[in-house]
Symmetry: C2
Subunit: 604 residues, 2 copies
Amino acid sequence: MYFRMSVALRAGTARSMHFGVSTAMRAVTARSMHFGSAFAAFRPTPASIPPSDARFTLSTPRGLPVHIHPLNPLEFLLRAAQIYPEKLALAHPDVQFPVFYTYSVWAQRVQNFAYGLVRAGIQPGDRIAVLSPNSPMIAEALQGVIGARAIATTINIRLTKQEIDYILTHCGAKLIFVDHEYEHLVSDAKARIIVCNDTGRAGDPYEDFLTAGRDFSQEKGWAGLEMDADENKPLSLNYTSGTTGRPKGVLTTLRGTYLASIAEAFEAQLGMESTYLWILPMFHAAGWTFPWSLPFSFSTQITMRTVDYSLIWKHFLNSGVTHYCGAPTVQIGITNHPSAKKVPHPIKTIIAGAAPTAHLLSQLESMNFQSVHVYGLTETYGPVTRNYPQPSWNTLPSSSRAKLAARQGHAFATSFPLRVIHPTTTPGEELVDVPRDGKTVGEIVVRGNIVMQGYFQDPDATARAFDGGYFHSGDLAVWHPDGSVQIQDRMKDIIISGGENASSLAIEQELANHPDVLEVSVVGREHPKWGERPMAYVILHTESAPRWAGKHAEFSSALKAHARERLPGFATPEWVVVVEELPKTSTGKIMKTVLRKQAASAKL
Amino acid sequence: MYFRMSVALRAGTARSMHFGVSTAMRAVTARSMHFGSAFAAFRPTPASIPPSDARFTLSTPRGLPVHIHPLNPLEFLLRAAQIYPEKLALAHPDVQFPVFYTYSVWAQRVQNFAYGLVRAGIQPGDRIAVLSPNSPMIAEALQGVIGARAIATTINIRLTKQEIDYILTHCGAKLIFVDHEYEHLVSDAKARIIVCNDTGRAGDPYEDFLTAGRDFSQEKGWAGLEMDADENKPLSLNYTSGTTGRPKGVLTTLRGTYLASIAEAFEAQLGMESTYLWILPMFHAAGWTFPWSLPFSFSTQITMRTVDYSLIWKHFLNSGVTHYCGAPTVQIGITNHPSAKKVPHPIKTIIAGAAPTAHLLSQLESMNFQSVHVYGLTETYGPVTRNYPQPSWNTLPSSSRAKLAARQGHAFATSFPLRVIHPTTTPGEELVDVPRDGKTVGEIVVRGNIVMQGYFQDPDATARAFDGGYFHSGDLAVWHPDGSVQIQDRMKDIIISGGENASSLAIEQELANHPDVLEVSVVGREHPKWGERPMAYVILHTESAPRWAGKHAEFSSALKAHARERLPGFATPEWVVVVEELPKTSTGKIMKTVLRKQAASAKL
């Protein structure tokens, strides 16, 4: 638990008068276990210091029944600032100018952000674009927009300038917040741009924006900002990273975010004692609702600008990290880093983006990481299912256990139950469940509170995705007798080999078990006889690579032999290519479209 | 974690075919740590066994948007039955015929209950009365009514026959479920009565009702029951125990129960490993939403028919209990019982109903109980605030710490923030906050999702309670600078002594610190000079009683001297009476109306 060191905050100092908390409470504040002296020495900008009589209630719209208030995830931050004002909310330590914001200060900054938007003429429903790595600014934007009833559009900073131009135009951003490192990406943008130098110090244009917001508020505080009477209004607009085609804008709502983030906090067992390390980019599906789960549970968050494994390990070992999220590819980077060792206290890791292999799960377990395997899409606020471990697994051999743990499982705490249906081909077709036999492949569909409102300004795509009253995930899965789902493949990644449907994921799972394989991706390649045949792209383990150097043909034979023992003939790779790296999206997803093109043109 | 022993459930046995879960999962089931052989040997009625292809989704009303599903707390049980079918949901061990229901079986019984209601002609919105101590029947009723969209009216079994007649008439119950021990209380009722002999065996009229429900369902399962399209429909109708006047019927809603029970699960840190002991009667404010928090968190619950301290201690020491709720008076009974000792694993105890004294809190702490101090009313679904411990308290002396821990604190996770206002006298008067000075006494008011829909068929009382757009709690409190509230008294319990407002609670807190005082209650008594003066009713500690035997006048002087050192003159008790017991409501609340009458007529 990070609390500011007592030294700077003794009752009766001039400084303590700035906070609206009792002096008795604050006379002795628990010492920070981590970031101690840096945290104690840090001084936020004057505009970030809340008034001594701060109140933490948004103005309520008139006419609501006494027994209903609209669900609004900004409430979580306000509550944390009221109840634990001195707790460290957000640390951003790995930069030239580190910052450490307590909940009290952080809430003030978020309030300033909201007033800054109002001052800039932002109206309810206007889109605010944000281009930033993980940083206080993007975290503040995701809260602050709610105060001004605007919509946050956080954009993937690893997209091309053209893609970003498309998104900025499509969302019609009225204001753009950009991290100094990515300013060149918005040089053609028409909207007003606010640059953040990520210093947290006066003179930083972003800080000046916040200060102007504070001035503009005339100290009306939260009461000067009205909460939306309609909990179904949008909160964020998240563009899918789209491995093919134009990115689509996914609209989330206040209600959906509120309910999904509570489920996330519960499933991840976040609490007062938790410290979450931001490895997952916050611009990815609005950080899987963690931006709101963390204040809901009074957790501390640490932001890192880059996925730097040395830094990640430094935080694992020295900063009291208890939680982080990562796709398997990131997890592989973590567990195979030279600094990797058993962590001194258990760390919960939320794994999504692809099914973890048995090898990865056992590696994580041996290093004292507790895996929470979840599945979801941008359209489902990030995670919407979780693998719920069963006590009966404890007595199984680890390989069987890992296979069960690789299933995507059941719907999240506040989600409506999922279904797996026979893929539909015509609009309006009745949705028919596949049998729960663990064999029949169908499409995962879901409806309810943890589903997006729709695609922004794309009624056709929304109608297609919502056909039959359910959101169609595009993910192919089997449904097990216990009601858990297990993904076989993305619909477009399935390989039609000799008339059989071969799941590229299932092939990858088996190939990943080969001791020399670090990472693998399988795509279909045209075949004169079979239509398509699987082609495997493999990265070798660092230790194994020298042994196979110059002998890739032999490795290929060995891996094919490994596969033949475990897979049906139509699913055994016809071709194996050893590579140094795999093409990935900014969020760590392997871009199979790129691999497919490479496969098609490869000379073998 | 209680799971059924593997012996009865090996894959391939005929029995295992009755459950819709995979055989692989169930081949080896974790052994139950507690209730082992009794749990393994228990056989539910045939009607309680779900079909092998059970599905756990209520039928969805047509016309809902894809991205919204109505909040419905029955979803939690359905989800638990799907994900952890073999986990022990409910144990009822201390009766002639003990029962042990897994989530899978329990959900089937709840479904049968719902179909039983439909079969009996119950329409959505009809009231179903339940008179029962804690038992499977009342727990099933609180879930089952949701399936039939009826309203559960659980009635306090310790009320008089007249009071019960009044409630049955007022709520217009269409059907009455009554435990065999309380059948005489409903002998005049007009509605159809179903008696429960609490056996869980065929031949029990209640079990026959469930079996008939199952038959009536024609195996349509949950899909044959439609979830309410409107999440603001009522779920339960809970009559206040009303220390004065006619009991009022408090209507809760599906949405409110859903949100309050999630908050409860989060605040109490319920989870897979939790076992909740039902000491709090379920008929009290619908069990403070625990009936739904427990399946939400996959917890196990143990029901006990009576508050028997020997039995409670047996379960603390032998049944893996991790959570229970209790008013201070119950806590005193627990900590002062001959079996009391340090419990081997920490037990979380949720304290409400009155502020715990410093003495009680330190006693609980020394016995390895972790206190979660909450405050609420029937009108707020039970708890709506919680005392949030501050790290800064750790360095305070225990007496100061206990004083801070006795505050009622801040609003719950999913509640709207509370306010403390200057008490209003005329309808429509503007609500004005008292200063947050820890001194000015005002009334606690709250609005939003954790507030009742209103008083059933009592628009006048509802309008009075909801004046100005907030629910008026009738509890007087001060507001501290840190935003926490601290109750001073019920409005009607305040003592006007020499023109000063003396808080009976504050006086009790000080008197309870006297080493010879086990329990104390203070009321006002007419005084010729001062208008009113405090009168204290005291129960002595078992060890202290012999010392003061025949010397109550001396004890009275000693206690008054103790009070004079700690309280202003107008708050010092004028009279002290030693008693053997205090008049209490069934929920452990001291009935000050009774004491006031005793005080008025006492010859001193």
